[in-house]
C-alpha cells in the first residue's frame, strides 16, 4: 500500500460508506457535549422521536455558562441557568457514558476534561459542537468541531457526513528557546500562514520541536489549529502520548492495554507519505508572541512594534489593520512592550492545564501584581486541575501575588458568564481568540502564553519573559 499520512489512516479506518462524489459516512467514537450547542439538537431528536445511537459515546459537562466564583449561590443569570438545567435534563433523558454536572469535582472545560479522564484516546474520531475540538488531535485522533445540526446527526446515527480535507504538514524542527512555549509556536504558525491558511486542510504538526512538547503543549498547539482555519490538527502518537494515557479512568484496562498500544504505535505518517502542503518553521526563530490586533494572525514577537497600515499595499489588509488599530486603541509603531494591560486572564481550553499553571506560577513566585492592573484571574481548566494545583501550592503563589483563584470553566475566554472586560479595557489573555467583543463588548484582547500573561500582570505591561527577572 502507498505510504499514508496519519490523517489518511484515521479517515480510512472510520469510513462506513462512501458516495461517488467522495462524501462519506464517518463513524464517530467519542462525542463531547456541552450546554450551548446541544439544546436544539436534543429538541430535534425529541420532535422526531429519535434516541441516541450509542449513549456511551457521549461525555458531557457544562462549561461555557458556569460561574467561576460564589458557587454556593448557583448560577445567577436565569438564562444561563436554564441552558445548564436543560443539559442536565437532556442527559438524564437520553443517557451518556459520563456526565459531570455543575459543581462536580470533575467539571470543567470539555477539552480539558476529555483528555484528563482518558475519554480521548489515540485513533479515535472525536467530535463536539465546539470549534476547539481540534485540541484532541494531540492524541493522534481525528477531532474536529461540528455545528448543532451535526451534533443531532451524530447523536442519532453515530456518524458524520463529511468529505475528506486536504492534508497539510506543519513541521517545526529544532529546539525551542527558554520562555518559548507551544502557545508561541501556535501563534507564530498562524502569523505565518494566516487565519485562513489552513482552510480546507487537516494539519499534522510534526518535527523535532513538536516531538519535544509535552501532551499539554501538543493540546495547546492543536487547539489553535482552528485559528489557522483548519478544522482538525493532529500530532502523531509516540511514547509521550502513551505515557499520558496510561492509568486514566477511561483508558483501556490491563487486558486490552497491549493490543491498544500496538495499534496506537501505527498512528504516525509513513515515511514518504505525501502532503498537499508543507509549511516549515525553525524552532530557534520563534520568540514569545503577542497579538496586537483583532485576529490571531495579527501577531508579533514581543520585541516588535505595532505595524503601520500606511506601509501596507494590499487595500483589504490595510483597511483591516486600520480598523484593528482603532478598535484596539493603539497607534502605529508602538513597541509591544510599552502596551499597558488592565486585566489578565490565565485560563481557557488553550492554556488552563496543570503545566500552564505551573509555568505561570514560576514567573509569579514571590512577586506582586502591578498596582495599575485591576484584576488577574486564574481559572483552572477543570476541577481536577484545580485540585492538583492546590496540592502543589500554586493557588497560594497566585493569591500572594494579588491574583484571583477561581473555579473551573470557560470564563473570560468568551465572557458568557459574569467574567468579562468592560469597554476599552485591555487584557493579556491566554485564550485563543482576540476578536472584537470576544471578552466583552469593546474589550481589547492580546493573546499570549501563560508565562507572558503572568509577567505582564507583574510588570503592568507586556515584557519579554526571557529577560524578566
Amino acid at each position: 500500500m502507498a505510504a499514508q499520512t496519519l490523517y489518511d489512516k484515521l479517515w480510512h479506518s472510520h469510513i462506513v460508506s462512501e458516495e461517488a462524489d467522495g462524501t462519506c459516512l464517518l463513524y464517530i467514537d467519542r462525542h463531547l457535549v456541552h450546554e450551548v450547542t446541544s439544546p436544539q439538537a436534543f429538541e430535534g431528536l425529541k420532535l422526531a422521536g429519535r434516541t441516541l445511537w450509542r449513549a456511551n459515546s457521549v461525555v458531557s459537562t457544562p462549561d461555557h455558562n458556569t460561574p467561576t466564583d460564589h458557587w454556593d449561590e448557583g448560577i445567577k443569570d436565569p438564562i444561563s441557568r436554564q441552558q445548564v438545567e436543560t443539559l442536565d435534563a437532556n442527559i438524564k433523558e437520553f443517557g451518556a457514558l459520563v456526565y459531570y454536572p455543575f459543581k462536580d469535582k470533575h467539571q470543567g472545560i470539555l477539552h480539558v476534561v476529555g483528555p484528563e479522564s482518558g475519554a480521548t484516546l489515540p485513533g479515535m474520531t472525536v467530535v463536539c459542537g465546539d470549534s476547539h475540538t481540534s485540541t484532541h488531535g494531540a492524541f493522534g485522533a481525528l477531532a474536529h468541531g461540528i455545528g448543532t445540526s451535526e451534533v443531532e446527526h451524530v447523536l442519532a446515527t453515530q456518524c458524520l457526513v463529511a468529505k475528506k480535507s486536504k492534508a497539510m504538514l506543519v513541521r517545526v524542527d529544532g529546539q525551542l528557546g527558554r520562555g518559548v512555549t507551544a502557545k508561541d509556536v501556535a501563534l507564530a504558525i498562524i502569523g505565518k500562514i494566516g487565519t485562513a491558511g489552513g482552510t480546507g486542510y487537516a494539519i499534522e504538526f510534526g518535527g523535532s520541536a513538536i516531538r519535544g512538547l509535552s501532551m499539554e503543549g501538543r493540546m495547546t498547539l492543536c487547539n489553535m489549529a482552528i485559528e489557522a482555519g483548519a478544522r482538525a490538527g493532529m500530532v502523531a502518537v509516540d511514547q509521550t502520548t502513551i505515557d499520558y494515557v496510561k492509568g486514566r479512568p477511561f483508558a483501556p484496562n490491563a487486558e486490552q492495554w497491549d493490543a491498544a498500544v500496538a495499534n496506537w504505535r501505527t498512528l504516525v505518517s509513513d515515511d514518504g507519505a505525501v502532503f498537499d502542503a508543507v509549511v516549515e518553521l525553525k524552532a530557534e526563530d520563534i520568540e514569545p508572541q503577542v497579538t496586537w490586533g483583532t485576529s490571531p494572525e495579527q501577531v508579533l514577537s514581543v520585541n516588535g512594534r505595532v505595524p503601520d497600515p500606511a506601509a501596507e499595499s494590499d487595500a483589504v489588509k490595510k483597511g483591516s489593520y486600520e480598523r484593528a488599530l482603532q478598535y484596539m486603541g493603539l497607534s502605529a509603531n508602538t513597541p509591544i512592550t510599552e502596551i499597558p494591560v488592565d486585566k489578565v486572564f490565565i485560563g481557557s481550553c488553550t492554556n488552563s492545564r496543570i503545566e500552564d499553571l505551573r509555568a505561570a506560577a514560576s514567573v509569579v513566585k514571590g512577586k506582586k501584581k502591578a498596582d495599575s492592573v485591576k484584576l488577574v484571574m486564574i481559572v483552572p481548566g477543570s476541577g481536577l486541575v484545580k485540585a492538583q494545583a492546590e496540592a502543589e501550592g500554586l493557588d497560594k503563589v497566585f493569591l500572594e501575588a494579588g491574583f484571583e483563584w477561581r473555579e473551573p470553566g470557560c470564563s473570560m475566554c468568551l465572557a458568557m458568564n459574569a467574567d468579562r472586560l468592560e469597554p476599552g479595557e485591555r487584557c493579556a489573555s491566554t485564550s485563543n481568540r482576540n476578536f472584537e467583543g470576544r471578552q466583552g463588548q469593546g474589550g481589547r484582547t492580546h493573546l499570549v502564553s501563560p508565562e507572558m500573561a503572568a509577567a505582564a500582570a507583574i510588570a503592568g505591561h507586556f515584557v519579554d519573559v526571557r529577560t524578566f527577572a
Binding site: V16, S17, T23, Q40, H64, I79, Q83, S149, Q256, M416
Partner: protein, 212 residues
C-alpha cells in the same frame, strides 16, 4: 430542512474580511435554547449603538446608521455579499440561524471558514464561493447601482447579474441533492443503519477499548 432551488434577490455588501461568528451573533444570544429568533441580533454589535442582551425589545434600540445592514437601500436583502474567510471562529450554528432568520438565503464570498460553510447547508442557506475578482466586481456593481439584484440558480449552479452575465459555482452532488429537495439528512443516514451496525461490530471487535 428548507429546500433551496432558485432566487432573485437584493444584494447587501458587507465589505470586511475575516468576519467571525462572534460578530455574526454575539455570545450573549447563544444562551437561547431555540433555533429561531436570532435575526434581530444578527451583527448586533455593529448594527446597534447600545449593548444588546437577550430579551430586549430590539425595535426601540438605537441603530448604527453607518452599518450597511441599516441602509434603507438594502432593506429586504436576500443575498449577502462578503469577503474572504467569512464565518471564521466559533462553530456556533447560531450564525447561519441568525443570517437565515434575518432573511438572507445566499452568502457569496471568495472563501468561507469550513465549519460555517458546512453549517449553512444544514439550514437551507446556500454559501457560494466565487473568485476574488468576480466578488470584487459584484461589490462595485452593487455599490454603484441601487436595487442591485442577483439571480441564483442551484440546479444550474449559476449566479447571474442584472446584465445577464453568469458565473458558475461548485457544490458537491450530495449537498446539492439535499438542498434542492430539502431532505432530512438524519433520515437519509438512518437508511444506512445496517451499514453502520456492520461497521460498528467490526470496529468493536478489532478495537474493543473504544467501547468502554
Amino acid at each position: 430542512m428548507k429546500a433551496f432551488t432558485q432566487l432573485n434577490g437584493v444584494v447587501c455588501p458587507l465589505d470586511r474580511a475575516n468576519v467571525d461568528t462572534d460578530a455574526i451573533i454575539p455570545k450573549q444570544f447563544l444562551k437561547s435554547i431555540k433555533r429561531s429568533g436570532f435575526g434581530p441580533n444578527l451583527f448586533d454589535e455593529w448594527r446597534y449603538l447600545d449593548h444588546g442582551e437577550p430579551g430586549m425589545d430590539n425595535s426601540t434600540r438605537p441603530v448604527n446608521p453607518e452599518f450597511v445592514l441599516n441602509f434603507p437601500r438594502y432593506a429586504g436583502a436576500q443575498v449577502l455579499l462578503a469577503r474572504d474567510n467569512f464565518g471564521c471562529g466559533s462553530s456556533r450554528e447560531h450564525a447561519p440561524w441568525a443570517i437565515d432568520d434575518y432573511g438572507f438565503r445566499v452568502v457569496i464570498a471568495p472563501s468561507f471558514a469550513d465549519i460555517f460553510f458546512n453549517n449553512c447547508y444544514k439550514n437551507g442557506l446556500l454559501p457560494i464561493v466565487l473568485p476574488s475578482d468576480v466578488v470584487e466586481r459584484l461589490f462595485k456593481e452593487c455599490e454603484a447601482q441601487e436595487g442591485y439584484r442577483l439571480d441564483v440558480d442551484l440546479s444550474k449552479q449559476t449566479v447571474t447579474t442584472p446584465t445577464g452575465e453568469s458565473f458558475g459555482f461548485e457544490v458537491t452532488a450530495h449537498r446539492k441533492h439535499c438542498l434542492l429537495n430539502g431532505l432530512d439528512e438524519i433520515g437519509l443516514t438512518l437508511a444506512h443503519a445496517d451499514d453502520i451496525r456492520a461497521f460498528e461490530a467490526k470496529h468493536r471487535e478489532s478495537k474493543p477499548w473504544l467501547f468502554v
